[in-house]
Amino acid sequence: MNTRIIFTIIVISLGSIAAILPKTKTSSTQLTADELLMEMKLQTYVVSTDELADLLISNDPAIMLIDVRDSVAYQQYHLPGAINIPLKDLLHPDWIPYVDQISKKNIFYSNGTTLSNEAWIVTKQLGFRNNYVLGGGLNEWFSSIISPERPASTDPNEIWALYETRKAASMYFSGSKPAAREDNSTILPPIPRKKKTRVQGGCS
């Protein structure tokens, strides 16, 4: 038995193993299972409605609201300045520059939290950063900001203070519409995230 035969046997067997290996993709941006669960548990990616109201009132240019509901629901009502990326189109090449970028803070929202949460998990798996979720979604937005519940007179001062802020925010959003941010055509695609670049190599 010469070297060629030994070599052939070894590489053909290794090659057969390679051919039957399940298709897996190793990515350096992948979170470990524990990190993923921890982040979900701690809800670090959730923006509360009060925080969002603050950001919108201060006209923070660094936030981008993304409505992940279908376009009918978006047409009927959407938050000021929001763009519409229905969940099923999230990974459409046209939208990738919006969800995979570094210049803005993307906030996904839907009626509740389920759809936006799913959008976040999908983008997280791909290693996209700067994506957040509006906790409670539009339902929470309306119940807490647009029509805040009047606290009982016996409630402590902090709750009253919160109520007053919310009431002011409510006036802001239902009164004069911030029309400047309404026109979608003026929203430019954000700066794409610097991709993990391939190493320069070969003879160049």
Partner: protein, 200 residues
């Protein structure tokens, strides 16, 4: 998780040190394989010594299987590993010119360095020739620029083009290479040149 240098922001000095050590291994193996002899290299095209074919394909298969297994085991991120860019026209024309250079000169750049290192004078002239060749290319580059840049296809993998998984393609290549080794060894017996083999 590899590749280590780009992922862990290793300093350039360490990277260069790694380059030197990798080069040591590269040069040692090339010389040990007998690639410092132009007549051994050229033997492949006349059938009396197919060492080039054996070493070249064995190395490519080993590297390929290694990358597939490393990726499967989660030890390397193939999105970062360099994949050659494919410019159809210039790859083919460049390859044809290099092929002509190979049969005329009897070396390729890597082997010419090892051969020059052990004192082959023809290899030193080959290195000189390649320096001149690159200089000429630099001078005539404006004339060739359109051709150099035409038909760009990106960093495309052959398995993607064929629409099969990397593993299948590797197995296919291994089977083809094994057949080539077998035929090559038959050719080695048929075109045997004792005089040349003794000399190199």
């Amino acid at each position: 998780m590899g590749p280590i240098v780009p992922l862990f922001n290793i300093s350039n000095e360490i990277n260069l040190l790694m380059a030197f050590i990798i080069g040591l291994g590269f040069g040692f193996v090339l010389e040990q394989a007998g690639f410092s002899s132009s007549r051994k290299l050229a033997g492949m095209f006349y059938g009396y010594d197919i060492t080039v074919l054996k070493v070249f394909f064995t190395a490519a298969i080993t590297g390929m299987l290694g990358l597939i297994f490393l990726n499967f085991m989660g030890l390397i991120d193939l999105d970062i590993v360099y994949i050659n860019e494919y410019y159809v026209t210039s790859s083919i024309i460049g390859g044809v010119i290099m092929g002509a250079g190979f049969i005329i000169g009897g070396f390729c750049p890597g082997t010419s360095f090892t051969a020059a290192a052990i004192g082959k004078i023809d290899a030193m002239w080959f290195v000189f020739g390649s320096i001149v060749g690159i200089f000429i290319f630099g001078e005539v580059y404006p004339l060739l620029e359109t051709m150099y840049m035409s038909n760009y296809e990106g960093s495309v993998k052959i398995s993607t083009i064929l629409g099969i998984r990397d593993g299948y393609f590797a197995l296919l290549l291994i089977v083809v290479a094994s057949l080539m080794f077998w035929i090559g060894e038959i050719a080695e017996k048929k075109f045997k040149r004792e005089d040349i083999i003794d000399e190199i």
